[in-house]
Assembly symmetry: C2
Homo-oligomer: 287 residues x 2
């Protein structure tokens, strides 16, 4: 996928019945900078639960919401559950109010938001933190192998498990299991979990706490066996690439950090508790 | 309806699955001038028949088409028939080619089109022909009563027959017939026809020829009676407000000019032929 296709698809996700399409397209065309990535309809984690943000600029962690004066329906809220999300704590979205506003007033608000985005981009550039949007590069494992590490803040998501494994020095052509041993780091697994309720698993991930809950709910017997098995297993360290739905509905494997089994907090009642010990992992060449 | 609602609705008519939404919103946001009216999905008459134009700027008679590299389906072509259309002869649309073009190349083409639109607007302003877009005024009969006349080039369309009649000096609260006598002009009817096949009528309007064909196809007896009736009727002059579907699917009554019955060309075979004798009509105060 190139930027042309990406931008069209992002815009196509906006709602045309209200002012979302107007606001989102105006921000993008006014900003007019193909080095800036944007995401529409991004799932975000909020203190009150997950929600959909109308626009998100990952390079500057900036959210925009079109305030139509009505709220998310229950149906929309339900759809949020198994989708990818980012942590938006501490980042209040910039709201653009369209209800009871004239077109001139809406345009003025958009102008302000565009100026604010430009300012943040310039600040990031000045501090050397700005990485221009490169759609091919960002999902290419070689980018991260060259860098020598991946960080949660990089918001790395790979298209396949094979790509994620390559960053860890493993060269598979196909890979269909949920995890494998790390080739270089001791007692460490590379893990590709679904961090939401699925089938016999009642998993959960809390980005703020940096905590993964892994719980088998098939039967009490299996639940106990699962926990006992892990208590005995010496591989208590996990590099996690969570399976998520990407912004375009495609499956992606998003780096969530390095986790360690918290044996004290884990129980048959609560399930296994994996605690994040690092937001960064070393990468290895697979060539 | 205000400009805010109008612009949103126009944008909402664009196709989001291809690049139409991207191109149309970029042109509008780059142009960024609320004095310029635009219409999306405007029906236009072409030598090869009617077609849909992606964008139309009525004040400068300027068309834009997004060339996706595929053509109108038969289904779409069929839907064109009973809709409003404008005469586009001699005005080739500016095509924006998106197939096999990068996003940068698409943006450059849009930039050129925006410059061209601005140039035409400036030319119209310099020659005193430019009338800023006023959404309330354009459909208000008082606007045209003040002006003393309406012209086909003004592209006047009223929301109701009552509004059209007011321009002719008649003050009805409701009106449900297809026409009425002009209160001031002799042997003249004000007529609200459907200028396309409908029910027992096989009507047609050719903007280039300035010719209306009116033909009853219920039975040969009725067809002959209809023609004979009009040959005897002294009211051979008609001020025509054609019933059309407006750009938002709403019914409108669009001024088409003054027509006279062409008795020589009319026949039971061809139907009644009404020939345009003027593209302008006098207006009268109804107060």
């Amino acid at each position: 996928m190139d930027k042309k296709e990406y931008i069209k698809r992002q815009m196509s996700r906006t709602n045309k019945k209200d002012y979302e399409n107007y606001v989102v397209t105006r921000i993008i065309h006014k900003l007019d900078d193909l080095d800036i990535k944007f995401v529409t309809q991004q799932y975000v984690k909020r203190p009150e639960g997950r929600a959909l943000a109308d626009m998100y600029f990952p390079q500057i962690n900036f959210f925009v919401e079109v305030d139509e004066g009505h709220h998310l329906s229950q149906e929309e809220a339900d759809r949020v559950r198994d989708a990818d999300f980012v942590n938006a704590t501490g980042n209040e979205p910039r709201r653009i109010r369209v209800a009871d506003r004239t077109i001139e007033q809406i345009n003025t608000q958009i102008e302000d938001v565009v100026l604010e985005i430009r300012k943040k981009i310039n600040e990031a550039k000045a501090s050397g933190e700005f990485v221009p949007w490169d759609i091919d590069k960002e999902m290419n494992p070689d980018t991260w192998i060259e860098k020598g590490k991946i960080h949660v803040e990089d918001k790395v998501a790979f298209r396949t498990i094979v790509d994620a494994l390559r960053c860890m020095g493993l060269n598979y052509k196909v890979f269909q299991r949920g995890g494998t041993n790390h080739p270089y780091e001791k007692n460490t697994m590379i893990w590709f979990p679904k961090l939401y309720p699925n089938g016999v698993w009642d998993n959960d991930f809390d980005e703020n706490k940096g905590e993964i809950i892994e719980k088998n709910i098939e039967s009490e017997k299996k639940m106990i066996a699962h926990i006992k098995g892990h208590f005995k297993d010496p591989r208590k360290r996990r590099i996690v690439f969570a399976r998520v739905k990407g912004i375009l509905g495609d499956i992606q494997y998003r780096f969530r950090g390095i986790f360690k089994l918290d044996e004290e907090k884990s129980s048959t009642d609560r399930g296994l508790v994996w605690r994040r010990v690092s937001r960064e992992a070393k990468t290895y060449d697979y060539h």
